[in-house]
Subunit: 235 residues, 2 copies
Amino acid sequence: MKNMIIASTSTLFDSGYLEYILDDLKSHFSNVQTVLFIPYARPGGITHDEYTERAQAAFSKININVVGLHTFKKADEAIAQAEAIFVGGGNTFVLVSQLYKVNAIQPIIDAVNTGTPYLGTSAGSNICGLTMNTTNDMPIVYPPSFKTLGLVPFNINPHYLDPDTTSKHMGETRETRIKEFMCYNTQPVVGLREGSWLEVKGNDITLKGTLTARIFEHNIEPYEVKPESNLNSLK
Amino acid sequence: MKNMIIASTSTLFDSGYLEYILDDLKSHFSNVQTVLFIPYARPGGITHDEYTERAQAAFSKININVVGLHTFKKADEAIAQAEAIFVGGGNTFVLVSQLYKVNAIQPIIDAVNTGTPYLGTSAGSNICGLTMNTTNDMPIVYPPSFKTLGLVPFNINPHYLDPDTTSKHMGETRETRIKEFMCYNTQPVVGLREGSWLEVKGNDITLKGTLTARIFEHNIEPYEVKPESNLNSLK
């Protein structure tokens, strides 16, 4: 049975790493002593060790150990034996390239489907969708595929951002970008604002946090769903 | 001999399509009756015909005809015979995918190297660099490669945007994104602000417009260059 937290971001403005969601993580990982951390997204290009230390500092507050996947020789065995998995944010292209390189995609799918608790933030949430086509990240490396974990039957846009009506910059708004995606793809997209997350328990997908989420479906105008909404019918 | 305008954007805030640069286009295309327009980037998912009409409306003001590459059976022949080429903005992933699909990459390189005047805006400028790894666009389709035209010996970041110091959004700034690119790649990146362009005449590359550009080089702190700077040594 799936047991996942798919969070828009790790960090809210003026708050520490994972701080806003730490109480929920405490119950999410209530039976867990050690979390397997996947540091491959390397935010700002930091090393796997540095990133793992950052995760450890946050998880220490709820008395959980963190061990980095990069310290294991065989990624598939480390994932299969993990008590819980946390995939951190950073650059989705870097993350997905490395997951393919160490053959970690299918082992993560198998682990989550057999009940290993999962936490994703930002890039680590984007990969829970069908594809990474709705990431916000710069394509700084070329992954072998944009196909991702498909643990929910839609795509995710983390850090969803409403248009800035005062801006004079001519770059596309997030909504414009996702609407362009809908021209070439049929799966729905869930725009998760910072501070929101999806809770997946078995087949139940629920929007959590205090904010609405923006839903994009093929040939339908984008619409908002409220916190505690059930997204099971979205596919 | 190369003769190119590589522009950050097609459109400035509160101004019409290509309006800010129309005088320069008049001299850039002074001997040209018909421009071959490559509409593949499809901004907002509009059709190739609609996009070509938008380009035609602007070029009519300087008495130049526009014909869309999509109306030709053989892209390579159309490009080889073109008096001039204009690649419009939109989504770089869509543009590059289609350029590979119709085998247009090498014909464009050959045409520009033999003196066919070229204009690129936004995505059409990004592809003038070595790779498309520094596009701002959402990866809504999967191109066969991120390698692009390499008509300048560096990468380009169009619509370069300075950090918004008042923002509470936790997504990466443009500078952070490009610095992440520099962790995995060694070529320089030119961040071109809206209203700026590069003029390429043979081997001379000059920054045009009224704004500075931001230059990222491997293992060097990013720095600004002034308008009329020569970028020939950047590689």
